[in-house]
Point group: C2
């Protein structure tokens, strides 16, 4: 696995991390708030992880979803763990808007239109704070 880019580097600007996983911003100017949640060790599939680790990772994925919803009020959130190109477990958390380049298609195909001229902005600090807030609500919540 010498060539795995998610073993060799963070895979983006880290906005939150613990000992097991990290959340990075994706450099996708047309998709503000697009984050990836990356498991730190080299694992291919969710079912390669023990259940407790799966739960830990999904808690983060849903905290990031809650964070981008609170910050960006997207029309939809897309969650995906694909890993066909980089088979190192990572989740895409993608806030979608009805006027984004691919809606209602997934973002990986051909664009249907130009990006809106007035995209929302979100800072790394705001993402960090909203993730911390979502985690604290999750851990303190009735859920």
């Amino acid at each position: 696995m010498a060539a795995c880019e998610l073993c060799q580097g963070p895979g983006g600007e880290v906005v939150w991390q613990d000992a097991l996983c990290r959340v990075v911003r994706v450099e996708a100017a047309d998709y503000p708030g697009f984050c990836r949640v990356i498991w730190n060790s080299h694992v291919g599939e969710m079912t390669d992880l023990p259940s407790a680790d799966r739960r830990h990772l999904m808690t983060l994925v849903f905290a990031v979803e809650a964070a981008v919803r609170s910050l960006l009020r997207p029309d939809k959130v897309n969650l995906a763990s694909l890993g066909n190109m980089v088979p190192h477990l990572h989740w895409h958390v993608i806030p979608r808007r009805r006027d984004d380049r691919h809606f209602p298609q997934p973002i990986w195909g051909e664009a249907l239109r130009a990006a809106s001229a007035a995209l929302p902005e979100v800072s790394s600090q705001a993402l960090h704070d909203a993730i911390v807030q979502a985690l604290s609500e999750e851990h303190g919540g009735a859920g």
Copy 2:
């Protein structure tokens, strides 16, 4: 929500269900074993569900992943909750093969090649049994 197709019908042949969610086979001849895990009530996002329900749904998603891995030995599994077209919570569980029509791209874009002439087959009964087996290992496991 009168027009929601996942409220009005099962959305495919049901291979497993309980009171909260169901697993259906997707009619995609080129992707044997492709299943969807559908939350029964009309909810848009994972973070609209209470944590216990999220865990319940993800336990099913991972049981289906384990089932298709055991039955089909795919090169990769893709998991995705998009809902841009049908905003009723459902997960795609897609066994991928290096020689499938879109690999390493997601299955939603243009095909890169013709489907293999020798695709594996999997019956609904085999899917059902493998899901039951995966759930029983999960609930009895050390996790």
